[in-house]
């Protein structure tokens, strides 16, 4: 442990503080200032600035707030994911909100605050701080889900998310309490060091606490059987918000799970059984339910459940490899999933759209380039080479094979086989729909182009030249092990 951890050291949280300040500033001037576009740019500048500040912390592990906050490559890698997701969601949101007449300035600070919460979740080495981060993240998300104030679906989405979220938080908190009861501390580092002693003296409390914590995060990452809220919330929320939900809170949940279950409680090998049971359930239910969806947002909701399942395959193996593989996969998933959602946002911005899959009909005739990108993202989600989706899965499953979980890998690839069917169906509709069906044109704005370019580039680069990303992911480790 270095000396720094014995004091507060605000400077290690510069990116978070900066984001928070920008958010507050927008909240204050937003009431006076009517130019929403400028506020959107301001919020983007905040996110980009935080990204730059975050990059500067790379490879220089620091700790502060009496060891409760830990900035290491692990937290930075995930912070980059959250910030990228925030940037992309903001870019997608502006035109969408305007098209639907709900361009209220509060939206942008909400994204910033939620991002701050996630960053704190990934950077903390203490159960209480993780919980704090989770709450900072969740509350803005509840509001964002209900951003269509006059739409019952959006309200349902918000309320459902809130109630389920609160429910999950209760589990989490109770779990933390039990772990505290067993260990006498919420500091993950101390729990890790004393784990052997703790298991032999208060194993029951520790295990039940760990299970309850896992249930709490299971809700956040949408693992089956804690996934019931996902389809309705995803469908009702504004599409850019859904896109954000499908990536950022999930990555944050996984960051916390990795930090707690591979670092703090990494010695509890028995939990591996729970993880692979969850992995199989999550993959299978997600993929099978996705087949029957006619609404693309619901389909992508189930698909995001399935992707959480793939990550849990690596989690059931544990170890450093699982951390790197999950981190790499989440980064790749951020690009191709947000890319897919960007196209859904475009479709969904047209008036009268309900985001049914059939609305894609005739897309290849009217917008061949857009249809080609849609195909790219769908093939990436399905895990075809040479996209990032393939290499991500390759990396995840290689961890499972390495540890001898061949049967689990076979189940995972069979799931990925099932998923090919429903992802291809979207491509089928976009390409093979009858030529006589008119595809109402979508209006392209520069922002959405930027999103499409970023996500497509990410999807292809991480697929074709993954070496650099791979090296970063392998450096994505906890400090102080």
């Amino acid at each position: 442990m270095d000396i720094k951890s014995a004091a507060i050291f605000f400077d290690i949280l510069y990116p978070e503080i900066f984001l928070l300040a920008v958010g507050m500033f927008i909240l204050v001037v937003g009431n006076v200032f009517k130019n929403r576009t400028l506020l959107a740019y301001l919020s983007l500048a905040g996110l980009v600035g935080a990204l730059v500040l975050t990059f500067q912390q790379w490879n220089a592990p620091q700790s502060g707030f009496y060891g409760m906050v830990q900035i290491d490559n692990f937290s930075i890698f995930f912070n980059v994911i959250f910030l990228s997701a925030g940037i992309i969601a903001t870019l997608m949101a502006r035109d969408y909100l305007r098209a639907h007449g709900i361009e209220r300035f509060e939206f942008y600070p909400l994204i910033l605050f939620a991002t701050v919460g996630m960053m704190i979740m990934a950077s903390s080495a203490d159960l209480i701080v993780i919980f704090l981060g989770l709450e900072i993240m969740s509350i803005p998300l509840y509001v964002m889900a209900g951003f269509f104030r006059n739409d019952p679906n959006s309200n349902e989405s918000s309320v459902k998310y809130f109630i389920m979220g609160a429910f999950a938080t209760a589990f989490l908190l109770y779990g933390i309490a039990l772990i505290y009861g067993a260990a006498g501390t919420t500091d993950l580092r101390r729990i890790m060091t004393d784990l052997g002693y703790l298991v032999s003296h208060s194993g029951l409390f520790l295990y039940s606490g760990a299970l309850l914590v896992l249930i709490g995060f299971g809700f956040k990452v949408a693992a089956v059987p804690f996934h019931m809220w996902v389809p309705d919330v995803y469908q009702g929320a504004p599409t850019p918000v859904t896109a954000y939900f499908s990536v950022a809170p999930k990555a944050a949940g996984f960051a916390a799970i990795l930090r707690i279950f591979i670092y703090g409680l990494g010695g509890l090998n028995e939990l591996s059984v729970i993880f692979w049971i969850l992995a199989i359930l999550t993959m299978s239910v997600g993929n099978l339910m996705a087949i029957f969806q006619t609404n693309i947002k619901r389909m992508l909701a189930y698909s995001s459940i399935a992707h959480a399942g793939y990550i849990m395959v690596a989690l059931s193996v544990g170890g450093d490899g699982a951390v790197s593989a999950s981190a790499f996969y989440l980064l790749a998933y951020t690009f191709f999933n947000l890319g897919g959602f960007a196209i859904v946002t475009l479709i969904n911005s047209r008036s009268g759209s309900t985001a049914a899959i059939d609305e894609m009909k005739g897309m290849s005739v009217r917008h061949p380039f857009l249809a080609a990108l849609l195909a790219l993202f769908m093939f990436a989600l399905a895990g075809f080479p040479p996209t990032a989706g393939f290499f991500g899965k390759f990396y995840l499953f290689s961890e499972a094979v390495k540890a001898g979980y061949i049967w689990l890998t076979v189940i995972a690839v069979m799931n990925s086989f099932v998923s090919v069917y429903y992802y291809l169906r979207v491509v089928v509709v976009a390409y093979f729909g009858k030529a006589d069906e008119e595809f109402a044109p979508v209006s392209f704005k520069p922002a959405i182009w930027l999103v499409l370019v970023i996500t497509a580039a990410g999807t292809l680069i991480l697929g074709l030249l993954p070496q650099f990303g791979l090296q970063l992911a392998q450096m994505c480790m906890f400090s102080f092990k």
Partner: protein, 523 residues
């Protein structure tokens, strides 16, 4: 040049596809011409490669090996031997031909079609030049995407069903192959202390028989679906019947060969003991395929599905010859891969020409075409006879070598297999009789236009090849021979080793060498 030629041949079509993106989509003719020129230049490059290829040298030629994803020992490793050389030539020739053949038949989405075709060409060539298993897998899978679009967008009435079935069948196998690939990766790591996906490195690794059987099964299933070996063939008739003509030509001509090529390049030399175990099973499935394909072809009413089922039968021969595991059988098998590409490719082109004229492919709708279309009928006759395997045509050389090799290995298989040749004559000649001979029964058939110049240009190269291989196969066989001998010697040395109780250098006591643990394991 030596080290760049493979990259050039493989990726030139892809460069062309990217180039086509920038051509305005209204300008159909420019799109077609550019695609044709690109395919033709690729063909010229491959000719250059052919002339540079040293026929007597042993081992891989034009090797390139650049690290790609070094963390996992994945590299951009290309190289060819005689087997891949001929398959590459077949691919580049057929690609030029299909560009010309699609000139008038594709009316909608011209740009997308030619882009898909060029991407497909890169995918297929990539499979044949890869010496890195990961790279092989990437090309193998990536190739599905353009083919999916070709069937799904420009196909017949049941195109969506056929396209999805095609992708799902192929995916099912290849995902299991992915698991086997990962297993091999760690196995190699614990054997050599480093990661490598190089096929040549993996040849050297001893694999305990128990694990070898499972890995072999995963790879073999993937390839068997692609070949297709009976009973995994059900996707093939659907895909063929629904695909546009050029799609069928490529599917039959090249895509199916990827399966047989996989067996030759990966299954046989990498898992020789497991191969030996499965020789009877695969041979019997191949025999069933030969007979079943022929019998089903006989009762088809649609000429295209007749040709499709004949492919099942012919590919049965290829597999049967391969499983003889001797030089003649394997040589015949590889030559028959090329032959099947030429003659079945020609047949699909001919059926396509017929369809463009009459918009039907039903045998019953034709009759007496020899009178109205003499040139067409001549070509049809030649292609059919080559498909049957008449002496002086390419089919004869291939099937003769296969049956010779199989007879040496197991006479019973050879005798049963030979009936397939007779059945082929039955369905082909009977079809010819009903389509081009006899009286003209339908008034529509009286005034059909005979082949025009473009169509002759398409068919003439194939006819030349049919007779060339039929009369003077030596240049082809001598290029295949070193590669084939190499593979046969690997298999045979493991045969003698396993008879002596050794498993590719490993001494196995009971089942002990079957339990394999990795030294790199995680938690």
């Amino acid at each position: 040049m030596e080290d760049r030629i493979l990259t050039l041949v493989t990726f030139f079509p892809l460069i062309g596809a990217v180039l086509l993106l920038f051509v305005p989509k209204e300008r159909d003719d420019s799109v077609k011409s550019i695609a044709l020129i690109i395919a033709f230049i690729t063909f010229l490059f491959s000719l250059m490669m052919y002339s540079m290829f040293d026929p007597v040298a042993n081992g891989m030629q034009f090797e390139v090996n650049i690290p790609w994803i070094s963390t996992f020992g994945i590299s951009y490793h290309l190289g060819i031997d005689g087997i891949s050389l001929l398959l590459i030539m077949l691919t580049t020739i057929l690609s030029v031909i299909i560009m010309i053949s699609s000139w008038n038949s594709i009316k909608t989405g011209v740009k997308g079609y030619f882009i898909s075709m060029l991407m497909l060409e890169t995918g297929m060539l990539g499979v044949f030049v890869s010496l890195d298993l990961f790279l092989f897998y990437v090309f193998w899978e990536a190739m599905l995407i353009p083919m999916y679009f070709i069937i799904g967008v420009w196909g017949g009435p049941r195109k969506i069903y056929a396209a999805i079935k095609f992708v799902l069948f192929t995916m099912f196998g290849s995902l299991l192959m992915l698991v086997a690939l990962l297993y091999l990766m760690f196995m190699y790591h614990s054997f050599a202390g480093e990661y490598s996906f190089s096929i040549l490195d993996l040849y050297k690794m001893p694999i305990p028989l128990g694990a070898q059987t499972y890995i072999f099964l995963a790879f073999a299933l993937t390839f068997a679906i692609k070949v297709p070996i009976w009973p995994f063939h059900t996707w093939l008739p659907d895909a063929h019947v629904e695909a546009p003509t050029a799609g069928s030509v490529i599917l039959a001509g090249v895509l199916l060969k990827m399966g047989t090529y996989g067996f030759v390049r990966i299954c046989l030399p990498m898992f020789p003991e497991a191969t030996l175990q499965f020789v009877p099973l695969i041979s019997i499935l191949a025999l069933i395929g030969i007979i079943y394909g022929a019998l089903v072809a006989m009762v088809q009413r649609d000429i295209k599905s007749l040709v499709a089922y004949s492919s099942v039968s012919h590919l049965g021969f290829v597999m049967l010859g391969m499983m003889a595991l001797n030089v003649q059988g394997l040589e015949g098998s590889v030559l028959q891969m090329i032959n099947h590409g030429i003659s079945t490719g020609a047949l699909f082109l001919i059926v396509g020409m017929l369809y463009e004229r009459r918009h039907t492919r039903m045998i019953a709708d034709f009759g007496g075409l020899a009178k109205s279309m003499p040139v067409f009928s001549t070509f049809f006759m030649i292609a059919s006879l080559s498909s049957i395997g008449l002496p002086l045509t390419n089919g004869f050389v291939g099937e003769f070598l296969i049956l010779l090799g199989v007879y040496k290995a197991n006479p019973v298989y050879a005798i049963i297999g030979a009936t397939g040749v007779i059945l082929a004559a039955c369905y082909m000649l009977w079809m010819l009789q009903r389509v081009i001979f006899g009286k003209i029964t339908k008034p529509e058939n009286e005034k059909l236009k005979d082949l025009d110049l473009r169509e002759k240009i398409i068919l003439i190269p194939l006819v030349i090849l049919i007779f060339w291989i039929g009369i003077y196969p030596k240049p082809f066989l001598e290029r295949i021979e070193p590669a084939v001998k190499n593979i046969v010697s690997i298999v045979n040395s493991s045969r003698t080793a396993s008879e002596a109780g050794m498993s590719k250098g490993y001494k196995c006591v009971g089942d002990r060498c079957d339990t394999h643990t990795f030294t790199t394991g995680g938690k």
